[in-house]
Subunit: 278 residues, 2 copies
């Protein structure tokens, strides 16, 4: 049963009349009907600050003449000296078993306000460390999903479409950001060009989303290369173990979109869960 589960929706659209708002509301409704507690961070409505500055740190800076956001914030986090807006988001993340990012894709990525949430909330120490990243990441017991709208059609994001493969586009967000923090990344929910679709198509998209949400907790996450296949030391250079590379020689595909090893990318690597192996 899904009772007692906490869900955080990080929502980044300016208008409550938008398709993104409808997708958010659908998620709230379905998840609440399962007994989940749903919290929404409505970034525009909150006036969430996007820019990573020294204002995020209370008290003295370690190195004011050569301010380094990452180094200052890891220290401030340890000492409880981050601003209240960041602490509040940390608390929501801490309590959540599932985070849904709901946004319109801007420039092949998240809107700046949501990039600001990523830059400011996924603080080193809190979200990751050199010891705790990827499959050893801090958030390995949490699920996450990117749910977003596009302006372009699905065909434009195929490997032979004008924009190129959506799987490549999603790598920096899904691997470099979410899996980096350990999250179990569920296949993205992509709403293709709702703004160019008739109302009945938009309705059908939301019906499909509700249906998916009904069994979202049971879904298999995307598969990424496990960290234990790498030599995670500075002397080993954080590179794939030689024996793993050797074993892959005969395989038709690379390990993942980013770990392609000079082979074709495994199809749908960032959009569909692999069939379960046993």
């Amino acid at each position: 049963m899904a009772a007692e589960r906490n869900v955080l929706i990080v929502y980044a659209h300016q208008s409550n009349g938008s398709f993104n708002a409808a997708a958010r509301d659908a998620a709230m409704e379905v998840l609440q009907s399962q007994g989940c507690r749903v919290t929404v961070s409505d970034l525009y409505a909150m006036g969430f600050r996007a820019c990573a500055t020294a204002d995020d740190i209370i008290g003295e800076l370690k190195n004011p003449d050569n301010f380094h956001y990452g180094e200052e914030t890891v220290q401030a986090w340890k000492e409880g000296r981050l601003t209240d807006d960041i602490k509040a988001e940390h608390q929501k993340v801490r309590e959540a078993q599932l985070i849904i990012f709901q946004f319109p894709m801007y420039w092949f990525s998240v809107p700046a306000i949501l990039k600001g949430w990523i830059d400011r909330v996924l603080t080193q120490g809190f979200a990751f460390s050199l010891q705790n990243m990827y499959s050893n990441g801090n958030f390995k017991d949490k699920k996450v999903i990117l749910s977003f709208t596009t302006g372009s059609t699905e065909g434009m994001f195929l490997p032979d479409g004008v924009h190129g493969d959506i799987n490549v586009v999603l790598w920096p967000l899904q691997s470099g950001t979410l899996y980096f923090c350990g999250f179990q990344v569920l296949p993205p929910q992509i709403f293709w060009a709702p703004g160019h679709s008739p109302p009945e198509t938009q309705k059908a998209m939301l019906v499909a989303w509700r249906k998916r949400l009904a069994t979202l907790w049971e879904e298999t996450p995307l598969s990424f290369t496990p960290t234990n296949l790498f030599d995670m030391s500075f002397s080993g250079g954080f590179r794939l173990l030689p024996q793993v590379k050797e074993q892959r020689q005969e395989e038709p595909y690379g390990l993942s979109t980013g770990h392609h090893l000079g082979k074709p990318i495994p199809p749908n690597n960032q959009t569909k869960a692999s069939p379960p192996h046993d």
Copy 2:
């Protein structure tokens, strides 16, 4: 001669004591010594607004109940109703023959404040349209370069490094954003982990950057798939022409990182210019 050339540096670091500031200063010095006029948009110092909101539009919204940033701003741009900060950046872009983005990589992408510049300044109509994108893009006579620092080493961003291939990481920015607007995208200037490097290594990095800047104008841009290889119509789905796909059958590599066509990605596609053919 490079006289009369205008360069815009869009700079996104909080501190003038940073390596990024030194890289910016090196670029200013070398380019000014060539006779270029160099303008810097120092985003943090300007307090540049990152978030795309209705505040960017002067006067009445077209559709206030279902606010759509893209649709409202293309209209506002046509009618001269964008805010002054956006208009000022438009003017700088219009005048520039070269734009340098100087930033520290945050989460496999640009910092939120720079994503805000991209979201707000690369306005539809001004920067692109359905008719004017990629090789037909508005900025096809301008050069652009991403110049950035990383926290990780180069090895971690190899196809067998823990983060995966840097060429995949750069695709959304270099193809989806810059080439999308038509820019000639020069190979990126990547400063690998200067923060973890001794002062003499940092100095050597800046010396190499100055050396590169001396002949930057002569460099061959990265190669992307030309738009005339696609059927750029809704009926054709903005997909690669069948005869082009057929011609590629025998080739060992795909066309580009995103247009991999199920083949291995052309090595260094987003980091090095291809050797000239013919």
